[in-house]
Symmetry: C2
Subunit: 154 residues, 2 copies
DNA sequence: CTAAAACCTGCAGTTGCTGGAGCTTCAAGC
DNA sequence: GCTTGAAGCTCCAGCAACTGCAGGTTTTAG
């Protein structure tokens, strides 16, 4: 039996966000408007909680609201427009893989720092170089390499 | 031979961000002010590029500018205030690990959708449930469970 | 020595929330 | 069934992290 009468404050608490954030998501059409009591207060169900929780996690992972909107749409597109769903899934999967690789490098570096850290200070910190250098760029700007235009020509 | 005369436009292009973003980072003190030409135009070096690239990647991974500031500070704190550096590294490492786990789940789901997708439409999309449910919350709001205050279960 | 391209400052607009004012509704206790 | 305080409502202003534009200056390729 799905709970259908969760007030906005409890919902906010349970997913760890602000009440206003939920209202904002409703306002921009990211979350569907919930039931209302006779006195016009919002009452949510499990489906709302799931979607909201998803949105929050996705945002924490760096997805834009536009991305989130697309990912939410995936669930509805399956069984209707499969080709388009595939396209969205494929594109987001690429982004997810790149994020995982970047975070993996960063984790390794942080772990290395902590391993050395115990008393005997390390000489250099590679945390910045780690995320800075490799070509794992999420956006698709032409190419993030440097050699090509410097010092040899524009 | 470190390039020391990269104009802002080239720098922006090479890391895939806007010119204004770089100026904004300088303005808020996230990036150090670069050299200027006689005509007051900014000229950057490799160190700037590295830092900027790091910032952009970290932002794409969902870190706030405050987090980024801390991570940048790590590089400077090593060799001076090792204990504090350790603390920052440890905290960020925790966040990184959680992000990796969440992204791992999401990747699995997207891959599953695409694997099934080829022509034979799948019945349900678990992408939302995947990121929605598990307790891998980045923030440390009390506890994301629901059972406690609501009569029970979805 | 031009003229287009790139840069400068300053400021307004956008996205994604967050907080406050002023008022209404809900629900727990009497 | 009435009170009363917590929680909700709408509207609007503000903040973080950019993004774009106007109006003018500098650089650089030809």
């Amino acid at each position: 039996m799905a709970q259908l009468s969760i007030p906005i404050g409890k919902l906010a608490h349970s997913v760890g966000c602000k009440v206003q954030t939920i209202r904002y998501y409703e306002q921009i059409g990211l979350l569907p408007p919930p039931m209302r009591t006779a006195g016009a207060q919002r009452r949510y169900g499990e489906v709302h909680r799931q979607k909201l929780s998803f949105v929050r996690h996705a945002r924490e992972l760096g997805f834009s609201l536009a991305d989130v909107r697309e990912l939410l749409a995936l669930a509805d597109k399956v069984n209707s427009d499969c080709g388009q769903a595939d396209e969205i899934a494929r594109r987001q999967l690429e982004a997810v893989r790149r994020r995982i690789m970047m975070l993996g490098s960063l984790r390794t570096e942080l772990e290395r720092m902590l391993a050395h850290g115990r008393g005997k200070r390390i000489r250099e910190c590679r945390v910045i170089a780690t995320l800075a250098d490799h070509g794992l760029c999420i956006g698709d700007h032409p190419h993030g390499s440097h050699e090509e235009d410097y010092p040899l020509l524009p």
